[in-house]
Amino acid sequence: MTDQFDDEEIILSELPDDELVDQMHDDLYDGLAEEITEGTQILLDRGWSAQQVLTEALVGGMAVVGIDFRDGVLFVPEVLMAANAMKAGMAKLKPLLVETGVKPAGKMVIGTVKGDIHDIGKNLVGMMMEGAGFEVIDLGINIDADTYIEAIEEHQADFLGMSALLTTTMPYMKVVIDQMKEKGIRDKYKVLVGGAPLNEEFGQAVGADAYCRDAATAVDAARELLAATG
């Protein structure tokens, strides 16, 4: 009986909306990019707005992935597979979101600090921030202070996000913040920092506005900081 049930093929297009969204959460969790692309298209064809698909089907699913990663239930390969699936869905939604001209919740410049080339965590943050309605300008890896500062000024960002995976590169975050202070622009921006070797204490020591232990926390921190500044 169980085998019969397990082998039963699920036809996404035959599922009602609520079950389809639940199924997409499962498919995201399992990193099934093709199914996510298909599910996204079905919801759009049924008249859902791109924003609604993004929020309910994709971000909702990735939030579960984020929590289980934080709690040690999921590991990096599984999160990467889930992120690839979300990216596949986003590829369909992004042009529509741009077309509809929805004003972003805020703007973030993000990058991995100088000397560091690790970007898995940073990419996840970028994806979750986009999912939450923020505009993200991703500078990439090995970013020096001048590049960060030029970018936040040019894009008039609300947030600067810095990521580091190495204990040898994380002190560079302070170099960037100090340079912002020297230029007298520190208070114009909220600085979020994150990465595996960081902690709350380090975030405070370098003078960041928030330390984000994972991608979901980064979104929450950004929302809270925005709300606090009005």
Binding site: N84, I117, T167
Partner: protein
């Protein structure tokens, strides 16, 4: 004769430690190793080292940790400080395999360097390919290694066989191959003063 110094070591450097110890006649040292797989979950290293220290407290005149920070973000240092245990300086085991100056030169020359040692070349299939699920999902390779430019094999032994394996591993990850033979010298040099009685 009862060993007077306990070295709690990462299993990834066990072979080298035993070799260096024999060469230097460090008969007063006893080695106990923790699984090298902990490197895939560095947050578990401090707890594992702490347990090992507690199990052996009072048994030795001195305990030393043959670990660098190894991705614990200072977590290992907090544990070691609590028990007055020293460790190998530096951020990574690659650093003590190459020697600090040489390693920093390599890193500055190309930040996108992915390092392998004899141990990692030998166990690449288990720790890297299977550990990161590349065997099941080769599409994950760009996500992990897309920003790396070269694979640097920091060799402890001059082995044609290991070099051939490392070359293949670089090709699998689509990275330029780079070979540096350091032998055991840098590690022995770091350990010697730390293991004095």
């Amino acid at each position: 004769m009862k060993a007077k110094v306990l070295v709690i070591a990462c299993g990834a450097i066990a072979r080298e430690l035993v070799r260096i110890s024999k060469l230097n006649h460090w008969d007063h040292i006893k080695f106990k190793c923790l699984p090298p797989e902990l490197h895939n979950t560095p947050d578990r290293i401090p707890g594992a080292v702490k347990d090992m220290i507690e199990q052996n407290t009072g048994e030795y005149q001195k305990i030393f940790a043959a670990y660098a920070d190894c991705g614990t973000g200072g977590g290992l240092d907090k544990v070691l400080e609590e028990y007055g245990v020293e460790r190998i300086p530096g951020a990574h085991c690659y650093e003590f395999y190459a020697g600090s100056d040489s390693f920093h030169e390599l890193s500055e020359d190309e930040p996108g360097s992915f390092y392998l040692t004899d141990f990692l070349v030998r166990h690449f299939e288990r720790l890297v390919v299977k550990g990161l699920w590349i065997d099941r999902f080769p599409q994950l390779i760009p996500g992990y290694f897309g920003n790396y430019k070269r694979l640097v094999y920091l060799a402890q032994t001059d082995s044609e066989q290991l070099q051939a394996m490392a070359r293949q591993q670089a090709a699998l990850l689509k990275l330029e191959y780079c070979y540096r033979l350091y032998g055991d010298e840098p590690l022995a040099h770091i350990l010697e003063p730390a293991l004095e009685q």
